[in-house]
């Protein structure tokens, strides 16, 4: 299961990140990790509704890809970790999402959708229970970004599994035909539920698909949030400059089972503790922390402070969600008012 990263592919002249940006990445990674743990804890305790797909091990791609987008950029985030890392990196206050996920009236979807998110003011319009569904509206977002003509771009994230959908082909075609400002991020954790990437895609790298469309592509180490951010900056620059779409494949891992409470199988046999331990070795937070410590950007004090702030942020979100009223009233006297916009 261990990803062997072809380091060369990720190389090339790197976009330079500022110290602030590096710290932002670290901070967002820690925050994403805290929210992920919170959701795991809550769903196990019956304090979250529907389901949760834990992000442990695979949080860096979303954080790296979304930390430096503009507020008006459009984002379809990956379903893993229920996109919390993507969304907080984009600047979204996750308390409204937790409220949604606990079925509260203050939820971002008014308590109508449990796991769905929607923050249109941040360019995050919603999601779908159908994996791979994001490829389609991405074309429309890219088109509208291009029409708007002010450098806005669309970031579309999905897993290795999601890339198997035919919607990917159709989206790649139209994005490239029209040279739309779209960055596709494939967060390849090598698994889709119980299925191995190797069995579901005939080549080692999903990025190979890009060749069919003449689309530039890069493979990055998805455990290195800085590498992901650097690759993203380049891709985003390319898209903003009107040069068309770009594909990034981030090789990452999934530490937990597909969904909390499901068995953790590969094909039909349980993953071993050794396998998981091996995956844990390349922990994205530790890799980033190490680097920032080396570069003198982090101190133990700052680490503790970031940790404390993240703890506080999660606690605040939980309090907000828990204190919000349950959304269990539905006025069905005028259904059409609910279903149709004015």
């Amino acid at each position: 299961m261990k990803k062997s990263i072809d380091a060369k592919k990720g190389k090339g002249p790197k976009a330079k990140l500022s110290n602030d940006q590096l710290l932002t990445l670290y901070r967002n990674l820690v925050r994403a990790d805290h929210f992920d743990k919170c959701y795991v804890r809550r769903i196990q305790a019956g304090q979250l509704i529907s389901f949760y797909h834990a992000g442990e091990g695979g949080l860096a791609p979303g954080v790296g890809a979304c930390s430096f987008l503009r507020k008006e950029d459009i984002l379809w985030p990956h379903h893993r970790a229920h996109a919390q890392g993507h969304m907080l990196s984009k600047g979204i206050d996750l308390k409204y999402y937790l409220a949604e996920h606990t079925g509260k009236t203050t939820g971002c979807c008014k308590g109508r959708s449990s796991y769905h998110w929607s923050f249109p003011e941040y360019g995050v319009f919603g999601t779908s229970g159908c994996i791979g569904a994001g490829f389609s509206p991405t074309v429309g977002w890219g088109l509208a970004c291009k029409k708007n003509g002010d450098g806005q771009i669309t970031m579309m994230c999905c897993g290795d599994g999601g890339s198997n959908r035919g919607t990917a082909h159709e989206s790649f075609l139209m994005a490239n035909n029209w040279k739309l400002p779209i960055v596709y991020l494939i967060e390849n954790n090598g698994l889709a539920i119980f299925s191995k990437h190797e069995d579901m895609h005939p080549t080692k790298d999903i990025a190979d698909l890009a060749k069919g469309y003449g689309m530039p592509a890069v493979i990055v180490d998805g455990q290195d949030v800085i590498a992901v951010a650097e690759a993203t900056l380049k891709a985003v620059e390319h898209a903003r400059a009107g040069k068309g779409p770009y594909l990034i494949e981030a090789k990452t891992v999934r530490i937990q089972a597909h969904g909390v409470g499901l068995p953790d199988l590969v094909d039909y046999t349980p993953r071993s503790k050794e396998e998981i331990d091996e995956l844990r070795e390349r922990d994205a937070i530790l890799i980033c922390r190490e680097r920032l410590l080396t570069e003198g950007l982090l101190s133990q004090e700052l680490i503790d402070q970031i940790e404390a702030e993240a703890t506080q942020e999660v606690a605040d979100a939980e309090r907000f969600a828990d204190e919000s009223p349950v959304a269990d009233q539905l006025d069905l006297s005028d259904i059409n008012k609910l279903v149709y916009a004015e």
């Binding site: 459009i74 939820g107 971002c108 979807c109 008014k110 109508r112 959708s113 769905h116 929607s118 249109p120 319009f125 919603g126 779908s128 159908c130 569904a133 490829f135 389609s136 509206p137 991405t138 074309v139 429309g140 977002w141 890219g142 088109l143 509208a144 970004c145 029409k147 708007n148 669309t154 035919g166 919607t167 082909h169 159709e170 989206s171 075609l173 139209m174 035909n177 259904i335 059409n336 609910l338 279903v339 149709y340 916009a341 004015e342």
Partner: protein
Amino acid sequence: MREITLIEAIREAYIEEMQVDEKVFLVGQDIRGGNFPNTTGLVEMFGDDRVLDTPISETAMVGSAFGAAQMGYRPVVDFMSGGFAYVAACEVLLQSAQHYFQHGGNVSVPLVITAGVGAGLKLANEHSVTPHAMFLHHPGIKVAFPSTPYDAKGLMKSAIRDNNPVCMFWHLALMMEKGQVPEEEYLVPLGVADVKREGTDVTVVATGLQVKHALEVAANLESEVSVEVVDLRSMEPLDYEAISRSLEKTNRLVVVDEDTERCGFAAELIAQVVDKSFDLLDAPIERICIDNMPIPGGYLEAHVLPNPAKIETAIRRVIA
């Protein structure tokens, strides 16, 4: 008043709406060249970025509209043929339809889905289906189906201005039908039926080509039976009031729907009438739909479609 064809009427709707609102654009396959004449010449008037040809990539084609609509554009997606909508069923029936409600009413999705539909050209099932029921079964999309050039233009303009997904197919057999259309601007609102012929003995509810058939039959039977023809114009929103008003006069109902019978719109209407107007009924309701089989091509097609003869038989049965 001047007369123009139904397809020309739709073209006028496009032109007028594209002129007043630059957020309106058209997307589909081969529409620049005018695969049907409703888009002929529009690329010259509005440019390549408002009349967009796509590959045979229907999920992305709908996606280009669905995404742009969320960002304030008002796209019209032309599927060419209604049967091709199946290849983007998830994008249309689930994603576009549910988006508004499912996301807390935060984001509206003002897009129009259109295509030529209807049997009659012996083209076999996929090129002949009129898959309205499938759309109606999925809340979040409105559904209109015009029978005249006047209605086609007015409904299309309303559809483009609506803040929701609206499906407005048009019938191939009506494409070149001429009808009066004023030069002045007008709208036909979604959800307002039109009594195309008044009568007192029996109500025939229909849409699209079947309105024409019903009117033919009504004229033929004039001396024997007084047939009221209610053209719904849109099936969702549904102008149920118009139906019950008519039933109060006639107490007899025939529903004609050019879609497969089973779980179709005619069944829905019958269920609603049984629920809301049971006491008004003096006879069982008759429904004339496409028989429960894939629509054959060839000469067999004619057997399974609604037609004036079948409508007449149904009328005679309910007044017997």
